[in-house]
């Protein structure tokens, strides 16, 4: 293992691996490019649909069913089939990644919106909010933790699957890995794998930071319970509504 680490370190130290079309910076850019478009498209498609279904309460079983069904689809198979029928290129890869990104976002948005305490929605309506106001000022802000949870899952999956896409002929970080595989160069494969893992972790960390930035502190139960213990030590009364435990957003991986 020590020898391998040294080899991988040497690979990263070799300036030849950092320049040109096959260099690390270019591969990272390609990888990001493959990933960002489908994620943005998925946001545009899944969030409005999930929000509409969650707000109206109609069609929930369909959302859950579709999301669960999608989880059993092997990404490699979806990608291969699309490329087989559409020829190699960015379009089939984008479509395949879009298909992957939609279910977690859809399920997260749906679960987030439909799990908002009914009493809160009732109060909002009773105070004179219109339906669009209820959705944008109450339901979506409260659903943000689960929506971002869905976005994080979708992003991880897309970044991971974009690596697999090199198998069907596009580039990105997966290219480093597969070109290593082709010549049985384990060092290069390990280096490519590490790069993908680091990119995935960084993207997830960035979204976690975004979550901390835009989710209301009132929804962070851990913070509030900590602060509550400090600021208000004696609370004889129980909270009237039991906070429903947040359901797991769609978990899927590749």
């Amino acid at each position: 293992m020590g020898a391998l680490l040294a080899d991988v370190a040497a690979w990263f130290g070799d300036s030849a691996n950092w320049t040109g079309a096959a260099g690390v910076p270019n591969r990272v850019l390609e990888h990001l490019q493959y990933s960002i478009v489908p994620i943005l498209l998925a946001l545009l498609i899944a969030v409005p649909i999930g929000a509409a279904v969650g707000h109206s309460g109609r069609g929930g079983f369909l959302v859950v069913g579709v999301a669960n069904g999608m989880r059993s689809l092997p990404e490699l198979g979806v990608l291969t089939i699309l490329v087989t029928f559409m020829s190699v290129g960015l379009l089939p890869v984008t479509i395949a990644l879009l298909i992957l990104a939609i279910p977690p976002l859809l399920a997260g948005t749906y679960a987030g919106v439909s799990n908002v305490d009914r009493a809160v929605v009732d109060a909002a309506r009773g105070m004179g909010m219109t339906e669009p106001e209820i959705l944008t000022k109450v339901e979506l802000p409260n659903a943000l933790p689960l929506i971002i949870g869905g976005l994080r899952t979708a992003t991880l999956q897309v970044i991971a699957t974009a690596a697999i896409a090199a198998f069907v002929g596009v580039d990105g970080l997966g290219r480093i890995l597969f070109s290593g595989l082709a010549v049985r160069d384990y060092t290069r494969m390990a280096a490519g794998a590490l790069l993908i893992a680091v990119l995935a972790l960084l993207a997830d960390a960035a979204l976690a930071a975004l979550q901390r930035l835009i989710v209301s502190p009132g929804l962070r139960t851990s913070t509030s319970s900590r602060r509550r213990a400090v600021v208000a030590p004696a609370q004889p009364e129980q909270l009237p509504q039991s906070r429903s435990t947040t359901p797991e957003p769609e978990l899927a991986r590749s």
């Binding site: 009773g126 105070m127 129980q238």
Partner: protein, 369 residues
Amino acid sequence: MIEFRGVTKRFPDGTVAVDALDLAVEDGKITVFVGPSGCGKTTSLRMINRMVELTGGTILIDGSDIMAGDAAQLRRGIGYVIQQSGLFPHRSILDNVATVPLLLGWGKRKARERATELMELVGLSPEMAQRYPAQLSGGQQQRVGVARALAADPPILLMDEPFSAVDPVVRENLQDELLRLQSELGKTIVFVTHDIDEAVKLGDKVAVFRTGGLLAQYDEPGHLLARPADDFVDGFVGRDRGYRGLGFLSANGLPVGELSTVGSGATGDQVREAARDGWTLVVSDAGHPLGWVQVGQALSGPVDTDALIAGGSLYDTEADSLRGALDAALSSPSGLGVAVDASGAVVGSVRAADVLAALATARRDEAAA
């Protein structure tokens, strides 16, 4: 005034929640809708701000049909408080209270100033302004709920079982607070509860509903206890209604008798001399009752304040009803109720027999009126 004229709510599955309800809610008063579950009381309340759309009849607010305008616009002019508080978890307490002013387009600064005023009005300390609902206790959340409903100063306040999820001590607190607020604000309040004691305590008028959305009786609480319209109301009002009804009869004119008292440093001889029928009350220097001594008990030395026999409830001559007076007499070990003034100083005694005589007088007067 809120007027129900032949109001009916029939749900799509055919159940009739409210059946041809006629009722007028008076301005500036608290009207309580009470009844068992499934009696249509909450549905009736929610039809006023169109959270439930009626299927027959009309509801008029100050003469205009609530169905005439836009529902959201109507609701912004009516305060709404619900059982689970329904506070927005993602907004600070201050912003929760400022919700309706912001919806009405007041501008952030003015809305927040108003919200700060209201937090003070309902007894929330200003340091809570930046906290979030999850950091508050149930009782505090309900206070915020009330403040939020009052923010835009609506003439009408709808309260749907607002205090039923908090523990009894906090509930009583909140009820007293509501009565205090109402004495300052004079809103037209419609209050739903399933608790007849709460209804009788808060209501200027009480509407008792029976299952199927029918109005069983609509009356002042004292009358409700004294003369239930039928067996259903009688059963719903519950046991001890005769006794609880005393709570609505003024104790003005109830004779306050003499009461033998001694100071806390009294000797056995002084006690023996002061006692009437074997009992005397020990009072503090300020005249506050400390407890009873029975002759034959503490005759040897001076009065031992630790060995006094605990007294019963006190009858406040300036605030209490006949119920308070009778309870003072019944709960006193000597049979003499201790009457006090507003400061808590002993002013005399009250006897159960006198309370019963006062009750008979009150009934005669009422029959004559």
